[in-house]
């Protein structure tokens, strides 16, 4: 009887956790734009929204956050991140322009509250995979230290201003030249590649391990029951 209880608990807890935290995968090429539509709720009309990056074993990193909301459509650009919060339509849209391979990782849309209140997840965690553009010729630029700096140190440039105008019409667009200490990496430091690898391995290993654990428990029970029925 104890084993039954254990099996039941394992099944249910696995399914529950899986529902909301199931990742949504987006695969794009370098230079392309990621667009994520995160449904919100009318009750969050006056709350700020944020786009965060999740790294294994670290606190979520807030990449961009909307300004204090009047409950109307408001947009903000922070570096390569474009946030468009439309409270009357209950939709929060995030765009990441000019994607780099190093952008690959796990992200999420949240309703942002001042600490210590925890943010509320909107939509599902976003698993972004940015593939290298095979057509670009990489010369001395691509060595052992991947350079994020050249693209992020210019927060005021808008490489796709034209595209922006076609998407956003009568709304207040604020371009912030924020110093982003967490996103801008000085040219001399080396980026730890293993972080990204560790995260992707973990997100594969964990569900697989769970599956193996459940299956092995099921087989053990079946084995024992069968043995007993044959009077062994």
């Amino acid at each position: 009887m104890m084993l039954w209880g254990l099996l039941w608990t394992l099944f249910f807890s696995g399914l529950q956790a899986a529902a909301q935290s199931k990742e949504e995968k987006y695969v794009l090429q370098e230079g392309e734009t990621l667009t994520v539509d995160c449904p919100s709720n009318m009750k969050y009309a006056y709350n700020r929204k944020a786009w965060q990056r999740l790294r294994n074993g670290e606190e979520p990193q807030t990449l961009a956050v909307t300004e204090r909301s009047q409950g109307t459509l408001n947009q903000i650009q922070v570096g390569r991140y474009l946030l468009r919060d439309d409270p009357p339509e209950s939709m929060f849209q995030v765009r990441m322009i000019n994607l780099q391979v190093e952008d690959s990782g796990l992200y999420r849309c949240v309703v942002y509250f001042p600490p210590p209140k925890e943010p509320v997840l909107l939509f599902h965690p976003v698993r972004l995979v940015v593939t290298a553009d095979p057509s670009t010729k990489r010369t001395s630029d691509k060595n052992s230290t991947p350079k994020l700096a050249p693209t992020t140190i210019r927060p005021t440039t808008l490489p796709t201003t034209k595209t922006l105008r076609t998407f956003y019409t009568s709304s207040r667009t604020v371009v912030q030249s924020l110093p982003m200490p967490t996103a801008v990496i000085p040219p001399n430091t080396t980026v730890n590649h293993t972080d990204a690898i560790r995260l992707s391995v973990f997100s594969i290993v964990a569900p697989v391990a769970c599956g193996i654990l459940i299956k092995s428990l099921v087989f053990t029970v079946l084995f024992v029951v069968t043995q007993r029925s044959f009077g062994l």
Binding site: L7, F11, L15, A19, Q20, K22, P39, N41, M42, K43, D86, P88, E89, S90, M91, V218, V221, L222, V225, T226, R228, S229
Partner: protein, 195 residues
């Protein structure tokens, strides 16, 4: 332990495995839906398709009269369509499906055509199911609730809805009282509801 016990254990575990694999969805055979021709619908002039499978369901109420017989609900469905098509000048009744207190599902725009039940952001990404009546101070009868849930299970079975579809109350996504306080409280307890 005896042979029958062992067999029973095998069978139960197999069933649990199946249940888990189906993500706890009740196997759905689609229940009866009153087709447009049967409730006397005027022809639709809508043409915008919905991209399937759809991820969201928006539950609303008409805030109008309720009906509790097939005859009166047939009439009510016509009334709602008339209001939407003639007065609001939409291409058809706004909803994808209507639920009557007779416990029947009435075909509106169906699974494949975009509705006009919410707004420009949510109409293209959701199925709009409405309960015919005003549910601020009343609850729909159990048979109406069952009809709605059966309809959504049917949507999943047909591939019109994603298996992990999410239910929203109309007031969650637009500034409105719909689907009414009482019905809203009910749907918040539905398994697929997500705030």
């Amino acid at each position: 332990m005896s042979r029958p016990c062992a067999l029973l254990a095998w069978a139960l575990l197999a069933l649990f495995g199946l249940g888990a694999a189906q993500n706890k969805e009740t196997p759905a055979c689609c229940g009866p839906i009153v087709p447009r021709s049967e409730w006397g619908a005027r022809p639709s002039e809508c043409s915008q398709p919905l991209t399937q499978p759809v991820r969201y369901v928006v539950i609303s109420h008409t805030a109008g009269s309720n009906c509790d017989t097939p005859a009166s609900c047939r009439q009510q469905a016509q009334n709602v369509q008339h209001y939407h098509a003639s007065t609001r000048r939409w291409c058809d009744v706004a909803y994808n499906f209507l639920i009557g207190e007779d416990g029947l599902v009435y075909e509106g725009r169906g699974w494949n055509i975009k509705g006009d039940h919410t707004g420009p952001t949510w109409n293209p990404i959701s199925i709009g199911i409405t309960f015919m009546g005003n549910y601020m101070e009343r609850v729909p009868p159990a048979r109406a609730i069952r009809a709605a849930q059966s309809l959504m299970a049917c949507g999943v079975a047909k591939g019109a809805l994603r298996p992990d579809y999410e239910i929203k109350g109309h007031r969650d996504v637009q500034n409105t009282l719909s689907p009414g306080d009482q019905l809203y409280a009910i749907i918040q307890n539905w398994p697929h509801y997500r705030e």
